[in-house]
Symmetry: C2
Subunit: 421 residues, 2 copies
């Protein structure tokens, strides 16, 4: 039995045959974690959890979900009962050795010579939930293209890139309570904006997306403890796609001097499956070239990015595609900086990468950039479009392309509901 992909001469395959299709997001090399529930009688294995309808932890494989709570109840794996929890936080808190053990065990159970009696639930019969209880949410600003493009629009070209941008990962604390799972409708916010004769109370007129990767912190750090970049990388459990919905008109009026607040609090959508760091390891990559040396506390011993195609669609139409390795700061560098003051980190903290944008318009992760602040509309299904309209559906996608398989994230979708005046 092959323990890891790296040891395989040929591509490892699963007895769950849908996982072996080359364009499947969830091959045996991936094994992302999520939380799901099922209605009564929804496929084999569904009845094995303590309570029908209860949220429990699973791993995606092909078009199926491995019911980890049922696996543990059968004695196939041991995670101290944490897989029966309605979020992954308690499992994640068990630490890296346990993550590795479960990954190796599931790889063995799902390989072609594995255990074909494993309790599976068809993904089509399951409801996917927020995979973690988001402890705190921090959002960064780590694509130079995005920082420059947005800076030009907010402050003009001469002040576009802040002076400290090439020296530190700039970030701000976001709001954890409005992080929701893919598929949750997002309501267009009301808000205060700058009008001709003073502020006005309006439905947001410049609603935007932000294409991001979210890192899930998998270990605590103590107050007063600084975490180095290498140690920070060891603290990251995995990644999700993240859409940091943004109300640009509210943002422009509110954001000085203390940063974005209500313009980013309307909702943040994440994909339901956490792709582990282990699954992405073969795709490790350099990021954007350094413009100047970093202070030692931010220096990385090895490349901290991934060769990860990432893009977004509007109402099914592909809008932009770029790569995570355009970023200037890795999640590990962001996490290290986050602890530089001694700030304690906790399991379940979510770190947004910042909007991922390449240099060209069809590589941008936000409409603000793509349309130059609304000045240059883009065509969406034959209609000119600047910002997001009611009923629009934004989808994010991302995958790392291996040889004969790919590590995918699955969709991260949100549809906009009209404002409630």
């Amino acid at each position: 039995m092959k323990e890891t992909l790296e040891m395989a001469d040929t591509v490892l395959r699963s007895w769950v045959t849908t996982a072996n299709q080359p364009d499947c997001d969830f091959p045996i090399q991936n094994l992302p974690y999520g939380v799901f529930s099922t209605e009564r009688g929804a496929g084999p294995g569904a009845g094995e959890a303590a309570e029908v309808g209860a949220r429990r932890c699973g791993v995606a494989i092909g078009d199926q979900i491995v019911d980890l709570a049922a696996c543990e109840a059968r004695g196939l794996i041991d995670a101290g009962g944490t897989f029966a929890q309605p979020q992954l936080n308690d499992f994640i808190a068990l630490g890296r050795a346990k993550w590795d053990e479960i990954r190796a065990r599931l790889t063995a159970l799902l390989a072609e010579d594995g255990d074909r009696t494993l309790p599976l639930v068809p993904m089509a019969d399951a409801t996917l939930h927020l995979p973690i209880r988001v402890t705190e949410f921090t959002d960064f600003y780590a694509s130079k293209n995005h920082a420059f493009n947005v800076g030009v629009l907010f402050r003009g070209p001469e002040n576009a890139l802040p002076a400290q941008w090439t020296h530190m990962p700039i970030g701000y604390n976001g709001r954890a309570s409005s992080v929701v799972v893919s598929g949750t409708p997002i309501r267009r916010p009301m808000g205060q904006v700058k009008g001709q004769d003073g502020p006005e109370w309006v439905a947001c007129r410049r609603l935007d997306l932000e294409l991001e990767l979210g890192a899930i912190v998998g270990a605590d750090s103590a107050m007063g403890e600084r975490v180095g970049v290498d140690q920070a990388e060891q603290m990251i459990f995995g990644y999700v796609l993240l859409n940091d919905w943004s109300a640009r008109d509210i943002q422009a009026w509110e954001y000085q001097p203390l940063g974005p607040f209500q313009s980013k609090a309307l909702g943040t959508t994440i994909s339901p499956w956490i792709v582990t760091q282990a699954a992405l390891e073969p795709f490790r990559s350099e990021g954007a070239p350094r413009m100047n040396p970093l202070l030692p506390y931010l220096a990385e011993a090895r490349p901290g990015f991934y060769d990860l195609s990432i893009g977004w669609t509007m109402n099914g139409q592909p809008m932009a595609r770029t790569n995570y390795n355009v970023m200037y700061y890795s999640s590990a560098q962001q996490l290290a900086h986050h602890t530089s003051s001694g700030c304690p980190m906790r399991v379940g903290d979510l770190l947004g990468s910042g909007t991922i944008s390449g240099p060209a318009p069809d590589q941008t992760g936000a409409l603000l950039e793509m349309t130059q602040g609304g000045a240059n509309p883009v065509q969406v299904n034959g209609q000119p479009r600047t910002f997001i309209q009611d009923g629009d559906e934004i989808g994010l996608y991302g995958f790392a392309q291996g040889d004969g398989y790919r590590i995918g994230f699955g969709p991260c979708i949100g549809r906009i509901l009209p404002a409630q005046a």
Copy 2:
């Protein structure tokens, strides 16, 4: 038996006689909630909790703590077992009707004709803990004097007060994980600051306090729901003193364009006793005069501030004293604005008022203002001082002065430890 203070012809008194001294922070009119633990055999009542040393909820009265877990075990009060929890969140979540019921019941039990067998623990024998699990922490910026004074130092007098300041409560999301209880040492942070030839990695050279009031959110709101100012006021459980420690040199370098981050993440100290809104009700007050009308979603039907003396000391020396009613936005207005985008609020959210500063230097809630950015040192115990030095102890205090009693917060103290390079 008198149910409320308002009905009393004379000042209500307690059989706990230390509570009847006019300068006691914790008279029977106050009854603030906290979380405490005791060593074995520490006074009457200490042994009644399920586990010696366990954290449990209490109410301060004079120099004693009413052991609420023991009260509930004896059947004297009914809060569904929540007082045996190590934080007040579950009790708070029971809602306003329960808050009122317990307050009335404790008032009766502690009145001169009350129950003298109530389980008390001497405060001197108890360790006080963080009273809530801080769900999320938001900090505002609601003193015009502070906003202007600090704005002058960061951006010059012409850009000092941001254009939107008189129209909305400006706030930012802070870091909940570094909120600690009074008495917890605070370590001077290391951080990145602007140097002559680029950024430098140094121990903070401009460490400061911020004198604030913290409001504890006592009810959830749903995602997409906007809360009006009157409803927001009903959602506030009570208040603590709050010191938002600030690394001014780190802040100046990092804060544009996304706001303060590591400069505010080194620690936030709150006082251990939550003074309820009910206790402060007799001290309701107007705030600062409005410079322009507010949009309807921020308009208050009645005064939303309190006549609350508040000040701070350094190494025991009084440094400044002002009043909470100098503020421009109330906690209820801040909470209403916080939900304006549909952002959900949760029990245990902590809202910092923003630094409370009057117009004069000896009314300022931060050294940055008091010393005009370090230009004009102040005398502390005969020594010139600009910012906080290692070993300095900062104490906040606050109280509302009634007729023959006062509603006090008790101390909110933090001592600075040297940086760890």
